[in-house]
Symmetry: C2
Subunit: 301 residues, 2 copies
């Protein structure tokens, strides 16, 4: 199957554009942009680096690539509106299965795939670029945290890492929620918007692990961080909660506790967990009185 | 060098954002979007598939990836405004050299790199996503060609293919303009805008080869195409001009000859070459009375 035939088959899997828009099939897609500033992010998912295809399916890899991109926009308090997907892979790659996962996540996050590219390569690489916006509101950067702000986490952590551990052990049940969290991680766009509306001063998603991502936020904000506790997912270890990435829960800082609770509750969301606070000493990095672990997930060596 | 350190070094190569914008370093870039509809496209360039690194440099590959993306927006009559670049490559890849070419093309086309990702992979893959706009004007699709329209080509073709031939022969001089055309192909954004302003009804860039790309335009427009001649670059063969891709000249259709000449001349551009016409029979595909060659460059098998 040639490139054009493959693109045509994939296009039929995906929704069609509304009148006045052009998606896949021209030199560039033509879409109505979001109101206000554009939010743009791109993420590469590489088979064998970011996903072990002996443990997860190609559809899971496709889902994850989209969820990771949508999560980047969620972590700004924005909404993802459009996706572009480039797939490079070896001959025989089941791109239809890959695209099935991409299409599922695209539908879940109401974020259509409007363009893409397809090429041969020796190792499967899926690059998802996301376009989004936060309306007229300023997006929430990593850099706005202030001493005295409370540090919130939108949910328990470690599910994805624990699911991977169970898959590796060969003892995972098909309906294990931790395995599902690893295969089909969820981005949190509604939580991101609720955090922004609650006056969040800084925000990041947990993609590389809480310790690493909270350090990024603290560095960008030039504040210290003191965590009293870390919410650990059922079945996960504290190490998995602190060091495991790809849970895509959001970590944010905000000064007003009542406003945070009200914002999440009025959006029908479980209020986030108040896990610690920002301090005035930028060198401070504490978890339950101990140094916050170093490390995190780097994909380039 | 870890991912974060590498990203930091690359960031220093690239221009810094204006006040109020955030580029590399947060979850997503925050930029002012273009006026009007968004134009979005993504292109993958794979070492060994789209570029032979024994013949061209990593900086050339980086340049080409950006030029190809900018060209997609040019072929809509738009202007590229922002780039996102994902690089996946083997350990030891000289990403600084790659980024030197990316930065040069980014500066040439006044289109900053506002985001990216970096990952390990077995084969070098560079995915460039471009965001652009055409202001309040409707972009030029492939599908608007009408019987009677003249077919224009913005310049002679075959340079890139001829340059590759010379490189393969081992007899290329360093300052050979054909070799330069292969290593540093030029996108034609000014020509694309001039074509739109001249009332272009359909447009495409020559990335896969004139024969293949003109077929795409004719298929999308449901018209026949009759070429009287093909402008061949000095030193290139007719076969290279018809079948060679990556010249990034633009092919467009327009009904009013005087308007085309006036639009290009007033923009300080060489008027495009009137090479043929659209006909009412969608099955007609002729070059100098012979069937237009089949084929074209497909990157997925």
């Amino acid at each position: 199957m040639g490139e054009l035939a493959a693109v045509d088959r994939l296009r039929r899997r995906l929704p069609q554009p509304p009148p006045g828009e052009t998606w896949i099939g021209d030199d560039a897609a033509v879409v109505a942009g979001p109101v206000g500033a554009l939010l743009l992010s791109t993420d590469a998912v590489v088979a064998g680096v970011h996903a072990d295809l002996s443990l997860v399916g190609l559809d899971d890899l496709g889902w994850k690539a989209v969820a990771a991109a949508v999560s980047d926009v969620a972590a700004m308090g924005g909404r993802a509106s459009h996706l572009l997907v480039s797939v490079c892979g070896p001959e025989g790659t089941d791109v239809e299965l890959l695209y099935a996962g991409i299409a599922e996540a695209s539908a879940e996050y109401r974020c259509p795939v409007v363009g893409g590219d397809l090429s041969a390569s020796s190792q499967l690489v899926v690059v998802v670029t996301v376009v989004g916006g936060a309306g007229a509101h300023p997006p929430v950067l990593r850099s706005g945290g202030r001493p005295g702000d409370t540090i919130y986490i939108t949910g328990p952590l470690g599910s994805s890492a624990a699911g991977l551990r169970r898959l590796r052990s060969g003892q995972a049940a098909g309906d294990d929620p931790l395995v599902r969290a690893h295969r089909r991680p969820r981005a949190r766009p509604a939580e991101g918007v609720a955090a922004r509306q609650a006056g969040a001063t800084a925000m990041i998603d947990v993609s590389d692990g809480l310790a690493a991502d909270l350090r990024h936020l603290a560095d960008a904000s030039a504040v210290g961080v003191v965590l009293d506790e870390v919410p650990v997912a059922d079945g996960a270890s504290l190490g998995e909660a602190v060091g495991g990435g790809e849970d895509y829960e959001l970590v944010f800082t905000a000064p007003e506790r009542e406003r945070v609770t009200a914002s999440f509750t009025s959006a029908g969301l479980r209020p986030p967990i108040a896990a610690g606070r920002c301090t005035a000493d930028p060198s401070e990095r504490l978890l339950a009185g101990e140094p916050l672990p170093e490390g995190g997930w780097e994909h380039w060596t």
